[in-house]
């Protein structure tokens, strides 16, 4: 009788001693998240599905973006800038703050618009459903879409009235925020730091040349321009100024930047050129008798 009790006691004690360690060991091990192969996308009423996007990706996209989505496709060595790496999931054109994932609509718009000054064409020829499916499939390359939610889109207040004061104030912001260090005093992308810029893969990269035309990276509208410097182009030297620029100042800067794009007719440029001062500044920049008039100074 006594032996049985002792045996039982020992057994229970052994379990009691081992169990807590077992539990604690389990708590230490958090399994690494894996991407979700059944991602979906939602853009307005449109819903995309990864399995439908896979077919399209392996027909149209993998030549540059790679079989594994990390930007090392067959064409990648011959392409500058290098194709987007969907495994890293760091994206340039977003409506969300720096360091956060974009919205599905940001990716959808990027596919449809393409990226000016890169090898990424506009895929507007694919149907809306196709593009939504591709967005869903792209998300299956990174576990970030599982562990993080996209950022909260930045608030863009209504654009204020366009005035000369707004343009001039924007010009002051351009100086104060030192945009000219990379973009140059005339926005030609020839500032003192321009020649040493590298992207996050250590590849040389050029800052945007405002005098080239109106085709900036993330869309043609003023709101698109606003978003570029208020969310930053992640993966590139272009930072976010959201913490240091007030929204009203941001709109002034947008108005001023349009006057730097003197090869792109816009209400801002027209207003600026209607003043003697503005007209003189723009005339000094325009170069006659060159191939493109794009701002190459003799």
């Amino acid at each position: 009788m006594a032996n049985k009790t002792i045996k039982k006691f020992c057994l229970n004690a052994a379990i009691a001693l081992v169990l807590p360690f077992g539990l604690m060991a389990q708590l230490d091990q958090a399994p690494a998240a894996k991407p979700n192969p059944n991602e979906e996308s939602h853009i307005g009423d449109l819903a995309g599905h990864a399995h439908a996007g896979a077919e399209l990706y392996y027909r149209y996209c993998w030549g540059c973006h790679g079989a594994r989505g990390n930007g090392d496709g067959e064409n990648a060595p011959y392409v500058t800038p290098t194709p987007r790496n969907f495994v890293a999931a760091v994206f340039k054109c977003r409506s969300t703050p720096t360091g956060t994932l974009p919205l599905d609509s940001d990716l959808y718009n990027s596919i449809g618009r393409g990226f000016n000054f890169t090898n990424m064409p506009s895929w507007i020829t694919l149907t809306a459903q196709n593009r939504a499916d591709l967005v869903a499939f792209i998300k299956t390359f990174s576990a970030r879409w599982v562990t993080e939610k996209p950022g909260t889109p930045i608030e863009i207040p209504a654009e204020p009235k366009l005035t000369i004061e707004s343009i001039k104030h924007g010009g002051e912001r351009y100086q104060k925020l030192e945009c000219w260090k990379c973009h140059g005093q005339e926005g030609r992308g020839d500032g003192p730091s321009a020649s040493t810029l590298t992207d996050s893969n250590d590849q040389p990269i050029r800052p945007y040349n405002f005098t080239s035309d109106n085709r900036s990276k993330c869309g043609k509208t003023n709101a698109d321009l606003y978003r570029i410097f208020m969310t930053g182009l992640d993966g590139t030297p272009m930072p976010s100024f959201a913490d240091v620029v007030k929204p009203e100042d941001a709109w002034d800067l947008v108005h001023y930047l349009r006057t730097l794009q003197y090869n792109n007719p816009s209400p801002e440029l027209a207003l600026w050129e209607s003043t003697p001062e503005g007209k003189a500044i723009v005339a000094a920049k325009k170069v006659e008798n060159t191939n493109t008039g794009s701002g190459i100074k003799p």
Binding site: L17, L19, P20, T98, D243
Partner: protein, 237 residues
Amino acid sequence: MRTKQVVVVGLAMLVVAAAAKAGPPAGGTISGKVTYEGTPAKMKPIDMSKEPSCAKMYTTPPLAETVVTGAGNSLENVVVYISAGAPDDAVPSTAAVFTQKGCRYIPHVLAFQVNQEIKIQNEDQTSHNIHPLPKINREWNKSQPPGTPAISEKYDKAEIFPVKCNVHPWMHGNFAVLKNSHYVVTGDGGTFSLPNLPPGKYTVTAWHESYGDQSQEVTISGSEAKTITFVFKAKPY
């Protein structure tokens, strides 16, 4: 009889749990020195002529800090930390501070814990952009003009990665995000000391931005002090 057993088992579990959870007693220490062998690359003076507001702060141009050596072949800016064998530590409430001054980062390597706040400040007359380049954590890039408040951030995964300023291409630093409080960044002399280690088998890792990382296993059985050295192979370039 049953009740007695349950009580005994319960007590045993409580005792074990309490012993495991109890804070570490003043334990052992692992200390030592980090040195190099071979010829390290000569550090070049930084040309800050494109940023006169910083250039004027130096009587002679400062040297790049990729490899900083000292007397006795010692190596500075090496992160020495316990990479295995110690549990994760609670997040400290004080922030780690990273300063941009004279168009350089102070300190060159900032070590701090997962989820600990870091405060980044700009003490220069020029704008900088802070562009840390992690691969596991999230990459962000923020502009910081002079006179603007400190940027407060944190990282939720352990990783060691570079930080740069795109406007000033010579500015390079590193962030070491670590899981526990047992870490040191070597200074002049290359020495390090990791105290308060309870008995156990530890992996000590030393990381240098140019020479890579090395690890050694050290066992602490009581409150003894153990000495180890790390020797990195210097590259002439």
